[in-house]
Symmetry: C2
Subunit: 397 residues, 2 copies
């Protein structure tokens, strides 16, 4: 039986829904998934690094030995042995992180949403890097903050620029290791200065660290959460060191905030899949990541070098770009008159794609910037794609 | 290196964070997980019904044949074959539901959060049943609506009571099948009247249907979404027919709303685990649920009857209770002077637990009500637990 609708619904969405825009990057990805496109646009890790066999064995073991528990509702804060593992891993740098500080989430994007939900009121000031991670800008935007951009240079965020915009700020969001989108790393001296500055201001500092383990050479720099666990909120993820499609991340927060986030998580989706958490713990508990992560570093490091070499050969002298020591991205800055959005249109016609830099700016965008990812493209295609881009840029000089 | 904090953070949470309270039910569950407690408090399905072997085989097959895809990031709206399956299943009642209307979510709790996020502004009027599902009240509360309670009786929600509170309302939330907490079912005549009333008012109607397949006898009643797909938002879940710990549900919405929900989902957690969706599709695609669901119905139906018989024997004549024809809950109403919260304290001392009814009311609570779940307790313990409750109630007459 069908009902006639005398008054079809005139949809009235919330004011916050007006902030929701489809990610420009995900729109580009739809275009660039055709096989003939050489895509430097993706933010996806390389599937070549996914430990399918180890995951399969772990699913089998967990379902065989604890299937009924794994498939039942679980605690909102997460699977206790995995929270313990994370607390111990983060306590290696000298600070003491307790499992009660750890909240398991469905990928770190959810941590951003929950942090925005409990920390941001309409009009609240939120400090972000210039440029910043697009997913964070999107997640926070829903709660309608006033974004203030903090200066960055080749050593990352400039702590001395914070004071001028800090008044009333609810949080500062930073991505210190191999930043998305720039690939830049915050130096150790700057980390100390940043943590001291935020501590002096009583300003919560979010340390988002999805790529920290992916350094191509040398040891990772010290984590800021270890310098001041009472003032730093740490976000981690299994997406880049294991696999992203399972949606598993975590946020580590000072206790008053951790409990508030837990309640927000409960209202948002009760808890993250128990089975997934048990399987990941099964995979990593005996040191699997110690030999797995180096294979990711080697793959990405080699392809990064191929791209850097190709850029040196094909990009004009007036362009500059970052030289990442880890992670997944290179950031290029072209002469100011070149519009990366127009360049993208031309590049797609020649079957090459990248992400223009403008969407990564919370405020005034630099339209002559672009983000290049090298992790899913084989060396030969990296060389060809960069040559195409170099030719297109040269034609605009 | 540790940093001294001259200004420890004085946490300032958002106004919406003030709405977040830990679920009273989950707090009770923590107390009642000791094995000596006979708990009628749970809202958990019985693990005896979880198809562990089928899930294990499906994980193995999906990871063996499409592991790299399953473990990669996926589309925000969900795994296309599963969305297709859901659209076809919902199109069997005569209406046409297209896959573009289906958004996969991390359990239906997430659908409630996303609906609240895009439909509710501070102070927006939201209509709910009396009593209503606690998880919905929690999810919507975050967005600070004004709840208005709509009358219910033994046949469910009373449509004629809507007009008096409908002015400016953003949505009406209803749970027509074997409602949580009352176990009541909305009659077919009432469904038609409800859909017509909402259509006449241009009022979006949310049909939350986690238990619809769990009817003990007879066919399910017609779905309201099939009567008016342009005005009804349908929520479904695999938690009660397959397993809850994987966190997989879906929301089916008219297209303008579906696209808005998709953008909200993207900002909230990018997408629900691709692997989980592929595995569930693998399990159900060839009719598994057709023979699995009857086994759940039989188990729950038998235990429901055991509880109803025990209540008839042990509860005083002045108490009344619902006689569910499906689902997981019985709702009891005691003489008005008996406070179910006080009764719970006494019951826990005798190792029996239930959920007092008060938290399920958006506005004026009826403190002499309680919710009893029979699905995870074996018959002998149901009889004993109900006898204990009957004695405690009699002592208060």
């Amino acid at each position: 039986m069908n009902i006639e609708s005398p008054s079809p619904i005139a949809w009235r969405f919330s004011e916050r829904a007006g902030q929701l825009q489809s990610s420009f990057i995900r729109e580009i990805l739809k275009i660039t998934q055709q096989p003939q496109i050489i895509s430097f646009a993706g933010g996806l890790p390389s599937p070549a690094t996914f430990p399918v066999d180890a995951m399969k064995a772990a699913f089998d073991k967990v379902l065989s030995t604890a299937g009924k528990t794994a498939l039942q509702y679980g605690p909102t804060d997460g699977y206790p042995p995995l929270r313990q593992w994370i607390a111990e891993m983060l306590s290696k740098d000298g600070a003491t992180i307790v499992p009660e500080q750890v909240l398991m989430v469905s990928g770190s994007q959810q941590a951003l949403d929950l942090l925005g939900k409990v920390l941001i009121d309409e009009g609240s000031r939120v400090l972000v890097e210039t440029p910043s991670y697009l997913g964070a800008l999107q997640a926070f935007s829903v709660y309608r903050p006033e974004f203030k951009s903090v200066l960055t240079d080749d050593h990352g965020l400039v702590p001395s620029s914070i004071a001028a915009v800090a008044e009333g700020a609810r949080l500062l969001y930073a991505l210190p290791n191999f930043q998305n989108p720039t690939g830049r790393t915050l130096s150790t001296a700057r980390r100390v200065e940043l943590v001291e500055t935020c501590a002096g201001l009583g300003l919560p500092l979010i340390e988002d660290d999805p790529y920290g383990a992916l350094s191509y050479k040398g040891d990772p720099l010290p984590k800021m959460v270890a310098m001041n666990p009472a003032g730093v909120i740490y976000m981690g993820s299994f997406s880049k060191v294991l696999t992203p499609g399972i949606r598993l991340g975590y946020v580590v927060a000072p206790l008053p905030l951790a409990r508030c986030l837990e309640r927000a998580k409960q209202a948002a989706d009760l808890h993250t899949a128990q089975l997934t958490q048990m399987v990941v713990h099964e995979v990593i508990k005996d040191g699997f990541l110690d030999h797995h992560i180096p294979t990711i570093r080697e793959l990405y490091g080699n392809q990064c070098q191929v791209m850097l070499d190709a850029m040196a050969e094909h990009f004009p002298a007036s362009a500059t770009w970052t030289r990442p020591e880890g992670g997944m991205f290179i950031w290029a800055t072209l002469p100011p008159h070149i519009d990366a959005m127009e360049l993208l249109d031309a590049a797609i016609k020649e079957n090459v794609a990248f992400v223009p830099g403008a969407p990564f700016y919370a405020n005034a965008p630099e339209t002559n910037t672009l983000r290049l990812s090298f992790v899913t493209v084989p060396p030969e295609r990296i060389r060809h794609g960069i040559a195409v881009l170099g030719k297109l840029i040269a034609a605009r000089m």
